[in-house]
Structure formats: C-alpha cells, structure tokens
C-alpha cells in the first residue's frame, strides 16, 4: 500500500500517458474508421474492395504484431520515427479504425433503405446522401458498439508497455520490480486506474444512448 502512495507521482504520469494515448489514437481511429465505412458502402468498386481488404486484414491480425511491425520492421525500410508515443499511436489507431468501421457500417445498415432512396430521388449525390441523411441516423445506433470499441482501445494501450512507451502497465512493472513485497497492492491499484477511465465511458454510453434514442 505504501509503495503505491509513495510512488503516486509516477503512477499519475503513467495514467496521463495511458489517457493521452487513448485519446489521440481514438480520435484518429474514429476519423479513419468513418472514411473506411464510407468506402465500404460507396458506389465505387475499388474503394469498396480496399475497405473490405483493410478491415479483414487488420481486424484479423494480433495487435502485438501491429506494434512489432511499426516499432521493429518499418524502421528497417528507412522510415524511422522516435520510439515511444507515436509508433504506439499509429499501431493503435490503424488497428482500432477497422473496428470503428464495422460498428459504423452496422449503424448504416440499420438505416432504412427508403431513406437513401428518398435522398437520391430529390437529387442528392452519394456524399450528400451519406453526410446529411444516412450517417446522422447511423451514429445513433452505432454509439453503443463504438463505446465498446473505445473501452477496448483503452485496455489495448497496455500493449505499448512492451514497446518502449511508459504508460500504466510499464509503471506497474517498474514498481513491482522495485517493491516485490507490495506487488499485490500495486497490481490492484493499477487495475483500478483503468477502471477510472473505462467506467465513466460506460456511463457516458448509457446517457448518450438515452438522449439520442428515437422511435422506429
């Protein structure tokens, strides 16, 4: 218990690192995932193929391999970025965007076909139909799965501990090594720090769901 309190500064630093990694990767993943979802429902064949291939490859590959690729393999081709935060952001956002895409696509499919047909009949282009009619409705039903994706992302940031980014899990390894007697408390304390991030996300999901609910 003492070790946890004495080192709270270090743990707080790890907590902020986890939160910022989650936030930055989450934002990029949501943007790129939305683009991918648009690709997958677009009338342009090559874009649909690209979207499908991307999702199937990325979604079915272990996250650790993605990290390995960006930290150890890519630099051997001469593309070298500093170790730590940015390789982790790239790996996590590319990985998570596949799941964002699929959650959104499910939302898009839940919007009645009549909506898109009506938009087209008044002369909307594909992007107008998607942007003004379909997506605003798709978001609503996509929110619960999207929050699940965000919670999964929060926990997935722990993989970065093994790839030179000092976040919560890396801090816990350091503390347990230095204070083996207090291992249990440090372990429980670190787990609680994750709950501090994920439980509010769950509550937020419930609130948003109620607010945007609509009768079908």
């Amino acid at each position: 218990m003492e070790a946890f309190i004495d080192n709270f500064g270090l743990i707080w630093g790890g907590f902020l690192a986890t939160v910022s990694l989650t936030a930055v990767s989450g934002l990029i993943a949501f943007a790129w995932g939305t683009v991918l979802a648009a690709f997958r429902v677009s009338p342009v064949g090559p874009l649909r193929t690209f979207g499908t291939l991307y999702v199937e490859i990325v979604r079915n590959t272990p996250l650790t391999l993605m990290f390995f690729f960006w930290v150890f393999i890519v630099p051997t081709f001469g593309i070298v970025f500093p170790l730590g935060f940015w390789p982790a952001v790239v790996a996590l956002s590319l990985y998570t965007s596949a799941f964002v895409c699929e959650a959104l696509r499910a939302g898009i499919n839940s919007v009645g076909v009549g909506q898109a047909e009506a938009a087209r009949s008044v002369g909307f282009t594909f992007s107008q139909t998607l942007g003004h009619v379909v997506l605003p409705q798709a978001w609503r039903s996509a929110i619960p799965p999207l929050i699940s994706v965000l919670i999964a992302l929060t926990k997935n940031t722990s993989v970065a501990a093994g790839f030179a980014f000092t976040e919560l899990v890396a801090v816990s390894q350091r503390l347990i090594n230095a204070n083996p007697v207090d291992g249990f408390f440090i372990f429980v304390g670190i787990a609680a720090m994750y709950l501090v991030i994920t439980i509010p996300l769950g509550i937020l999901a419930g609130r948003l769901e109620r607010r945007v609910a609509f009768a079908r």
Binding site: V71, V80, F81, L83, A161, G162, A164, A170, Q173, A178
Partner: protein, 294 residues
Amino acid sequence: MKKAKWAALGVAAALALAACSSDTPGDDGMSPEPTGGAVSEFPEGSTMAKLQEAGTITVGTKFDQPLFGLKAPSGAPEGFDVEIATMIAGKLGITPENIKWVETVSANREPFIQDGTVDMVVATYTINDERKKLVSFAGPYYLAGQALMTLSSNTDINGPDDLAGKNVCSVEGSTPAQNIEKNYPDAKLSLFAAYTDCLEPLRNGQVDVVTTDNVILAGYVAESDGEFKVVGEPFTEEPYGIGVKLDDTDFRMWINDVLEESFSDGSWLAAWKATAGTVLPDPAVPTIDRYEVN
C-alpha cells in the same frame, strides 16, 4: 644415527626432485604430472588434497554467456570463467580433460555448491551479502559493471556523462535503467521488456545507446560482426567471485592465493586477452577480498 640422517636427507632430496620435475612443464617424459604448472603439497584432509588425489574436479559455469562461459553443442565450454577455472584446476595437478563442466544458471548456483554437485562455481557470479550467507566467495577475479554500447561508427558518446539528450535503451524495471534515471536524468530512456529488443532500434538509429552490464553487452558485440562496440569503463561495480562451500575457508583462501599469483605472473591478463579481452578493454587488477565468514 648418522645413517638415519642420511636417509632423511635422501627423502628430502627425492621430494625436492619430485617437486622440481613437476615444476618444469617442458620436462618431456620425465614427469607424469600434467603440464598445468606447479603442484604443491596440501594439508591432509583439505579439499585441495582430496581433489588432487582424485585427479578430477567438477566446475559449475554458464553455458550461454558469450566470452565468459559458452558451450558449443560439442566440446568443452569456452570463455574467461572457463580459463580461470582451468588455471585453478591446473594448480591442483588436474588436466583440462579431467575437468567436468556442469551448467549452472543463476538460480541453481547456491544449491549446487551446497549439495556438492560442483566443487566450485565460476559463472559470472556476483559477490553480494545475501549470497555470502549461503556460500563463500574467493576473489573477486573481475569487476563487471554497467556500461554503454553504441554503433561502431558513433564517436560522440564516450561515457555516461555524454548521455544528456541521447536516447538510451534498457529494460523496464531493471537496475541499469533505474541507475540512469536517478544519476543521469537528462538522458531519454526507451524501455523494452528484454535487452535484445534494444538491438534493432540501435541499428536503426532510434536509440543511440544500449545500457546494462558490460558482460551482457560484450556478448552482443561479439555476435554483431563489428556493428556494435562497448564504450568507456564500467560505471558501477559487480565483483565476480568463485563460489565454494560456506565453511571451506582453506579452499577459498588457497584459491585467493592462486588468483593473486595469476595477477602477478600475467596468466590472468593472458586469459582475459584470449577471451573477453577480444571485445572488452583490459580491466584493472581487482583486489582480493579475504573476508571473514560470520
């Protein structure tokens, strides 16, 4: 009376001759003794006498530490620890082919000494107070310590004081990483789960330095084909000792004598140069610690 005196003289002469013949290794055919060097008289019942009598010794060493104790699939292990053990065995009149090598890893060194599986352990074995409660240490015969490894082409890092603003790679939670964080706070640490994870980033220039014990680094240098180098002197001290049974003070002190002799006659440095010295700079001669067992 006179007769007895002459007989005694004769015995003494014979003894002196025997000692002489074993003292001179190049004495072809004359001596059945090994070419290992001086064989002295040991007190009755001592470990030295028993080992000399048996003509064989069992030594625990590492089989996986390049330059110190590394064993190919066939043949005897090779390295600085192996040379030191062979030299000590030689002083007991035991030839290299009569040494039985047993692999000792970090976790089984104390039990192997305590239960007599091995007669001594020479295995990058750091002397510390916890271990001194279980076994006795002769030596130290080498002072290892934390050092820095860079690309061979690097010229601007020559010691820990050059680390400010540099990317330093080590292992999360390790003592070397803590040392850098505490004493060289201007260095930027990248921490992985294993030291081998640091090698690829070092090649790619993502980190400038890898830091841990110089002995581990030397192993990577030996395998890197000239790509890496160890820079500067170790900046912490890990004294390597020879582990023997806790209460066997005679054997321990005798090994200390052998080590001191090897320091002064150059055989210690020769053993170093032939093994770890191919990668690491020549170390200063360590001071033997003849501590009291409590």
